[in-house]
Amino acid sequence: MRATRPWAVGVGLGLALVACAGNTAPAGFLVTPRLAQTEAYGGWVELLVTGGARVDGELIAVTADSVWVLGRTAVTVVPVASVRQGKLTTTNAEVGNIVGATGLGVLSTISNGILLIFTAPLWIIVGTAAGSSQSYAPERRVPPLHWAELNGFARFPQGLPDGVSLASLRPKPPPRR
């Protein structure tokens, strides 16, 4: 039996160190940047409220003093003064594409002869770092941002419309299989 190679240990350590971003959005809720151009839903927001409670759901609207979040059943209005941390995920990060390209890149190093000893681990290291970085790309956090800066990714970036009843708002339907 052949023991683990030192570079493999290094890559494993690197993977452990550069963890990817995650979110609580239901599968299929976040769409790719291309699809987000033609959809009109808000991004997925996660709030950590004073006292430890967590609120998550679609960002319906946001102002300087309140955040409207549509959970799985109803809209919750959260005063920003009570929010310790907020994280908005705007789109699908497409990390899978980076992972796929990295996997194919590693396979492609068979064309590098013995030099794959260098290029294959390099692909894994660079691909892992790129995937990790990309996973954070669609995130917007408060702080450091201000709440008003998130309104572009709310369902109603213009603010909550006067004639819209919160009780009438329905969550984004799950994607059709």
Binding site: R2, A3, T4, R5, P6, T32, P33, R34, A36, Q37, T38, E39, A40, Y41, T90, T91, A93, E94, N97, I98, G100, A101, T102, L104, G105, S108, T109, S111, N112, G113, I114, L115, I117, F118, T119, L122, W123, V126, G127, A129, A130, G131, S133, Q134, A137, P138, N151, G152, R155, F156, P157, Q158, G159, P161, D162, G163, V164, S168, L169, K172
Partner: protein, 510 residues
């Protein structure tokens, strides 16, 4: 080749279309004339919570009217209407445009795709450049550790198993516990019978060198040449120190076996018996020729290598003929009539580690002491040449491994293999071992050598198979002089690039 190109195209395509980011811009109705006309879609958010999602949209020159084709969605984003729309900008609460751009992560993937494609292209253009070479040994030196020996480079089959003795010239033990780092950095299977350190007491102010006959001779009063004349002119600067500055030449463009000479003079000659110290390594010519031989043998390579086993000394003699035609570095001195006579020869197969030997020279009262080196053009890199006074041969101390670590753990089986020699240590590409030795307590007073025995098996590469050519293979074995002339043009086309690619690939960890 086709598969390689396809793979590269796919990787590059993936890299370019891999991941994206969305740049979103919100524009108030009064600024509608500033809308980004390049955005493929326009969202017009109404005060009612409804939203138009338009493609092929257009804002008139004043930004007062918006036209476009698309959908009108309600507050729950259910479809209300679709088709052509036209509405005044001031009926809108907020406009939204989006532009999708390649993600920054794509740049990293693109760079890696470029690196892989470049290496693949290099390997495709010159498959024999992407190679490795026999077991390599790293030893601690004054700057950390460096590659100091490559073992039994010529032993490319079991029948050619050999013992190899390498001076660890730059080794600087930091204690009696001495460790060598053994690696297999090539697509090869290495079979190692033993790897012993040979320690030889060093004279005060001198070194110990080994002769081609295997005698360990103390050397003192080392003197660099006062003159070094080669075809290109004065070569003293290149050979006067063990400083990684080497003297080398290009191969002959007509005959790879063509010779050249280098004339040396030593103004200062130590008293007593003297010897010429020569530190050298090969260029990539021999490795190229070995790989070309295997490429010519192609699918029949294993059959031919098996015949080395069954064919006895005659078969092995044929196999070694190519090496004999290429020759070693011959050391010549003038006799009493002024005719150049061969005093000995040095030179070990292998392009990676410098091999250092001493050739005893006949005593003479003539000054300056003249020495001529005769060697194949483009085959050798000379690192260091010096004349020294030689003492009587001394007995070395053989040190067997005391410990072996593999992947960070003690490897009892590998230690048993190297110490007891009943079963060899077999390593595969990428394997690394730390082999520990116990030097004498006054370790600083010893010259260290590595004596290793074994052989290695090349892994045949798919890209070699198209070159299968039985007639050319037979010519290399039976008529190597003709083969070296036939191969000269092909080798010359790659010669300069091979060195550059090989050493810049950092395949060898200098």
């Amino acid at each position: 080749m086709a598969a390689r190109v396809v793979t590269m195209v796919v990787v590059v395509a993936l890299a370019l279309g891999c991941a994206h980011r969305l740049d979103r811009t919100l524009v108030s109705p009064r600024d509608a004339k500033t809308l980004d006309a390049k955005a493929p879609y326009l969202k017009a958010h109404l005060r009612s919570g409804y939203v138009y999602v338009l493609a092929d949209w257009h804002a008139d020159s004043g930004g007062g009217v918006i036209r476009g084709r698309g959908r009108l969605l309600d507050a729950n984003r259910a479809l209300v209407d679709s088709g052509e729309f036209r509405f005044p900008a001031d009926s809108v609460a907020l406009f939204e445009t989006n532009v999708v751009r390649p993600s920054g992560a794509n740049a990293a993937i693109s760079v890696m795709a470029g690196v892989t494609a470049t290496v693949a292209a290099i390997c495709a253009l010159s498959p024999k450049t992407c190679f490795g070479s026999c077991p390599t040994f790293y030893a601690p030196d004054s700057g950390g550790a460096s590659l100091q020996a490559e073992a039994f480079s010529a032993s490319i089959a079991p029948a050619l198993e050999a013992t190899d003795l390498d001076m660890l010239y730059r080794a600087r033990p930091r204690g009696a516990a001495f460790e060598l780092h053994l690696t297999n950095e090539a697509l090869e299977t290495h079979v190692i019978r033993f790897a012993d350190v040979i320690a030889v007491p060093r004279p005060a102010g001198g070194r110990v060198f080994v002769t081609p006959d295997g005698e360990f001779r103390p050397a003192t009063g080392l003197e660099s040449p006062s003159r070094c004349d080669a075809a290109e002119g004065d070569c003293r600067a290149a050979v006067q120190g063990f400083d990684r500055v080497e003297r080398y030449s290009a191969a002959d463009s007509v005959d790879l076996a063509a010779r050249e000479t280098i004339d040396l003079e030593f103004a200062e000659v130590p008293e007593g018996e003297v010897g010429l110290v020569v530190a050298s390594r090969q260029t990539l010519m021999t490795t190229y020729l070995i790989y070309q031989s295997l490429a010519y043998l192609g699918t029949q390579a294993t059959t031919w290598l098996a015949r080395l086993e069954t064919g006895g000394p005659v078969a092995r003699g044929f196999a070694g003929e190519l090496g004999r035609v290429l020759g070693r570095i011959e050391v010549l001195v003038p006799d009493s009539m002024g005719e150049w006579r061969v005093a000995g020869s040095v030179g070990e197969i292998g392009p990676i580690a410098v091999d250092t030997k001493v050739v005893p020279l006949p005593a003479t009262a003539a000054k300056p002491y003249r020495v001529r080196l005769r060697l194949t053009r483009g085959l050798w890199r000379l690192e260091y040449v010096a004349i020294a006074a030689l003492g009587d041969a001394v007995e070395p101390v053989r040190l067997r491994p005391e410990s072996v670590r593999h992947a960070g753990r003690a490897d009892a089986a590998a230690l048993r293999a190297l110490r007891e020699r009943e079963q060899p240590l077999v390593t595969l590409p990428g394997d690394e071992y730390e082999i520990g030795y116990q030097l004498p307590a006054d370790y600083g007073r010893y010259e260290l050598f590595l004596e290793a025995r074994g052989y290695y098996l090349e892994w045949l590469r798919r890209e070699w198979l198209p070159e299968e050519n039985a007639a050319a293979a037979v010519q290399l074995v039976l008529q190597p002089r003709d083969a070296l002339r036939a191969l000269a043009p092909a080798y010359k086309r790659q010669e300069a690039g091979m060195e550059h690619i090989f050493w810049n690939s950092r395949y060898a960890r200098h």
